[in-house]
Symmetry: C2
Subunit: 304 residues, 2 copies
């Protein structure tokens, strides 16, 4: 299934793709471990290899293949670069001076296991490591230097100012205050949407897709990102810590959420609307990617 | 003076180059401020615009010109990327869970002014910002995509695993334990040497220098970095907090230093030997850069 454009259902697709992503992440962490002191390396491993849906790498690889990319194993190494940035953001978000989270995906957070200093270092080192990972993967996939530069630029934009860091910060601002609809959309467009959109854009860039296709896939990613975040708010409001594998922290911290702002039915309607917009952008792009359409629906229908 | 290869003494050279670097850093911070929330932007400004010798950008620009680079103002933007990485490392190093420093260059450290959470964010955001800064500068200087990719790779290597982060971590390990001569050299080769060497290598790469020239300049940078660190240990051992503008923390934290390991006269001899090696590498490179020779000597003769 991972090698074809035929599509026999989302579950087997996700399972096979996730296995490939896990293998690529294990390679990336192994590469890093040779260059890091043992404690930082252990914290990197804890933060990166802690499970999760691996949605960003899967979106990247899917976009890459849909745009005609080559079927080399190294396409998963490109996807892994995105998960390294995602892992950095979670490790720093969970710190005592940020969200002060004890649990993440049912395990102790990295700083609870490895301490604050090591976790700050390990998170920060993942940023240049992700940039190098993306550049290495582009070389292995036969990208031109122009393509490699564009891919690295996209990744660093999503990881930095104007991208997810802006959104994380808005998240802290939102605690104890109430954000209006526009500010809440802006927060999540940056917090989750920037990296999800870049996942698709990076895949498209590495495959040499035309500008219009790349932009449509980015639009799909932003809509999926917003749907994902609304669905997260809904899950936070309706599930217990046991089911989620993390503390339902949003209510405890009095953060603005879509459920708090709109109520449950309206929040669900807004998530569905974003899925519709995502599928519309996908159809407009002209690429053949049934798994991306299924993924957009999965984002709001998942259980965790 | 900044525009010529003639050289009329180090002091006016450093003063003029530093002014150009400050202007480039102000441009870079202004660019970031448009993309960051106000508090993170202020912390970035505090960390980046807090003075200092601006040694890394000056070394980068000097290597770039010595290798025949074009005389565009944007060469200082390339240098600024290195100072952004340096600023990130200082902001994180000073955090309470790291060195817990109150003073840096005679001012409150960034976290004392802006808090831990904002400082961790601001430091981390400087890493992708520096990568983008280097890529933009390369484009403005007319570098090929291959050169731009090589420059970005060099910067991210120096900023990450195997580069300065490894050294910073060894620094923490060294507290309360005594490092032997080899471990101490390794610590400083990574802590200071990696980014100093990369400053020269990036300048050489952007100018399209041949491999041999680039490697010789990197060797110069590693020797200067080690000389710089030994000189820092000597300054820490002989100067007061008032003169240094920071707390003489090494002795307080019982860190291994060259002075503790070898005594003052032998430490001074070792610094001089590194300066000699630096000048030898410089002469071997065949480039005409009297300011780099003078800079190597300045590193061990400076007062702060």
């Amino acid at each position: 299934m991972t090698e074809g454009r035929t599509f026999n259902g989302l579950s087997p697709y996700l399972a096979e793709e996730r296995d490939q992503v896990e293998a690529a992440l294990a390679r990336a962490v192994g590469h890093l471990e040779e260059r890091l002191e043992p404690d930082v390396a252990e914290a990197v491993r804890h933060g990166v290899m802690g499970g999760g849906k691996r949605l960003r790498p899967i979106l990247c690889v899917s976009a890459y293949m849909a745009c005609g990319g080559v079927r080399r194993a190294e396409r998963y190494d490109l996807g892994a670069a995105l998960e390294m940035i995602h892992a950095y953001s979670l490790m720093h978000d969970d710190l005592p001076c940020m969200d002060d989270a004890e649990l993440r995906r049912g395990r102790s957070t990295t700083h609870r296991e490895h301490g604050e200093a090591v976790t700050i270092r390990a998170g920060a080192v993942l940023i240049p490591a992700a940039a190098l990972q993306a550049l290495r993967a582009c070389a292995a996939l036969g990208c031109t230097p122009q393509q490699a530069r564009a891919v690295a630029t996209e990744l660093m934009r999503a990881a930095g100012a104007g991208g997810m860091v802006g959104g994380q910060w808005l998240d802290l601002l939102g605690e104890g205050t109430t954000l209006g609809p526009d500010a809440l959309d802006d927060l999540h467009r940056r917090k989750t949407g920037a990296l999800l959109a870049s996942s698709l854009v990076m895949g498209a860039l590495a495959a040499g897709a035309e500008d219009g296709v790349r932009e449509a896939l980015g639009e799909y990613g932003r809509a999926v990102g917003l749907a994902f975040q609304i669905a997260d708010d809904i899950l936070d409001a309706t599930e217990s810590a046991e089911t989620l594998g993390k503390n339902p922290s949003d209510a405890a911290l009095d953060k603005s959420t879509y459920v708090a702002l709109y109520g449950l039915p309206e929040a669900q309607a807004r998530a569905s609307e974003q899925v519709r917009l995502a599928c519309e952008a996908l159809q407009g792009s002209g690429v053949d990617a049934p798994e991306l359409e299924a993924l957009a629906r999965y984002v709001v229908e998942r259980e965790k």
